[in-house]
Symmetry: C2
Subunit: 367 residues, 2 copies
Amino acid sequence: MSSATKSVTLEGRFCMHRGGYLESPTLAYETWGELNEKRSNAILLFSGLSPSAHAASSAEDRSAGWWEDMIGSGLPLDSDEYFIICVNSLGSCFGSTGAASVDPETGKLYRLNFPVLTLEDVADAAHGVVKHLGIDKLHTVIGCSMGGMSGIAYCVRHPDGVARFVSISSATRTLPFGIAVRSLQREMIRCDPKWDGGQYEADNSPIQGQRLARKLGMITYRSPQEWDQRFGRERSTSDSHPGNPFGIDFSVESYLENQGNKFTGGFDPNCYLYLSRASDLFDLAEHGGSIPAAMRRLKLQKTLVIGVTTDILFPLHQQRELADGLSKVCMDTRFVPLDCIRGHDSFLVDMDAFRPVICEFFESCCD
Amino acid sequence: MSSATKSVTLEGRFCMHRGGYLESPTLAYETWGELNEKRSNAILLFSGLSPSAHAASSAEDRSAGWWEDMIGSGLPLDSDEYFIICVNSLGSCFGSTGAASVDPETGKLYRLNFPVLTLEDVADAAHGVVKHLGIDKLHTVIGCSMGGMSGIAYCVRHPDGVARFVSISSATRTLPFGIAVRSLQREMIRCDPKWDGGQYEADNSPIQGQRLARKLGMITYRSPQEWDQRFGRERSTSDSHPGNPFGIDFSVESYLENQGNKFTGGFDPNCYLYLSRASDLFDLAEHGGSIPAAMRRLKLQKTLVIGVTTDILFPLHQQRELADGLSKVCMDTRFVPLDCIRGHDSFLVDMDAFRPVICEFFESCCD
């Protein structure tokens, strides 16, 4: 874990949205900048499924974070002006309580005894951190990918606690294509004999299944258009095992191999299963019976929805739907479809496209 | 195998496109209709990766074939007028020689000793069947999906042997998205411990890996748009294992489970690996150094390219590219983009859209 990571224990019984509870869960978080006297300049950032709270470097930890180019002095999330908080999602494994944590009531790892996790729980746990920091009302909630769904869950469950919302490459709910992809990723992990019903040891975990799941992830996180340009039918320079049907022939296969290997070991498989399913389960319409009813619960004064034309996991029409819904309850809503080529992951790699849009959002805030 | 299936042995050494050979391979095929006196009414049909030669029912076998609504008396491939041949691809496992066949030189199954398979080999083996049937020039070669690539391989390698070509949801080559998907499907099978380096027994084969590969297949064979309409966020009625992260929650997951279970057992895993890789390896540009150079080798008098707007595996722009290339060497080329919702598989399920286009093609043939 980053040396900049702090943590807080939410004392008492934390009741989960779909039943069950956690006894005094821990939440890991990092912050950048200073909270002003009025406590009115706090931004809460929700990450996608896999990142930690280390979104950017700081004096305490100089290593680059997962949104390094976006957070800091003079950057779109400007630490000279704002107090930025990133919480490691409840259910994750980078300091926050999840399936890989010890259940204080049994002294053993939760594993599959962890209760069903939802993005409402992720939002509520982050709200606990915000309260702990003495903040009543956030200047802005901002979330990327799954984090955008956690973010809108925060806004609908704590409407008086947030003034503005920024959704990046997210949606009001997952549609069947996304469910199918994630369901298959989870099955790949469970089919690895080393998963062993969730009872694997840390040094003998289902790495093979995780590699496969990561490869499928990359297929949906990027775009065919990017790969046409980047790889085409270029051959791999690594050993191609000529004469057998299972070597690596093409550059795109080498790329996936590298991506698959990079990810494994870093993320606990059971935590992945829980967070992945939480993404599938989320449906904003459950808050009031319909999307419009849920929207009417919001008390936002300004919102921004950014989507990418080549995103196949959170397709643009879903982001337009989110923006349309928000615009009916919040006059100052802006929808920005970006013509980036790198698909869902664009917000992590195409900073030149995202930076000005997010800058403009904060510059046009009138308090 | 269907009782309507005939077979022919191509006597002697069959040299493979990328090296190696098969000793007197067998090809399974079915036919519908009668060859006319001039031997000028033969249509050769290439299937996608997984079907057998049983494309339609006949007097010998009343069971429905994989393109039942398309072949027969009064149907678009009209058996009253044409002599239609469907060959089980070389390398497959429904009567044609493949990795699951006995190598006559060793008396053992080929397994991974089968030479590298290409779609040029699939085309050449089908050409052997056509010669065996005494046909010098085919009226039309028609191919669906992978079969479209086998079909264009046939046209470029035997330009004097074919007068017309119909490509359905195919391409001149596989782009990186398709390579990535197929490569991952192959890896899923190889990662199943029961694959055992290809040495599995028929009654103990890597069914788990095949199930996963089939599920990924279905994700790319259909379309997100179809699933939005068909499933939305509808819950599955099957046992959802409440409280654990690996049950089936949604209808789309039940659907994939059924599809995965249906496919396994029917197709030999090693054969699948070979044919899947053959699809990735195919590149029409290798015939002459570029797509235009390959096109100039063709001697076609009429072509038709049909594609589907929602196809993510063989996207429309690839089919437009094929049609553009054909139009430069064949005046009578027609490109028909169909606005079907069921993605790549539309040619198997949306017959009302495909039937009139294929009918029109054959009706407008002037001999």
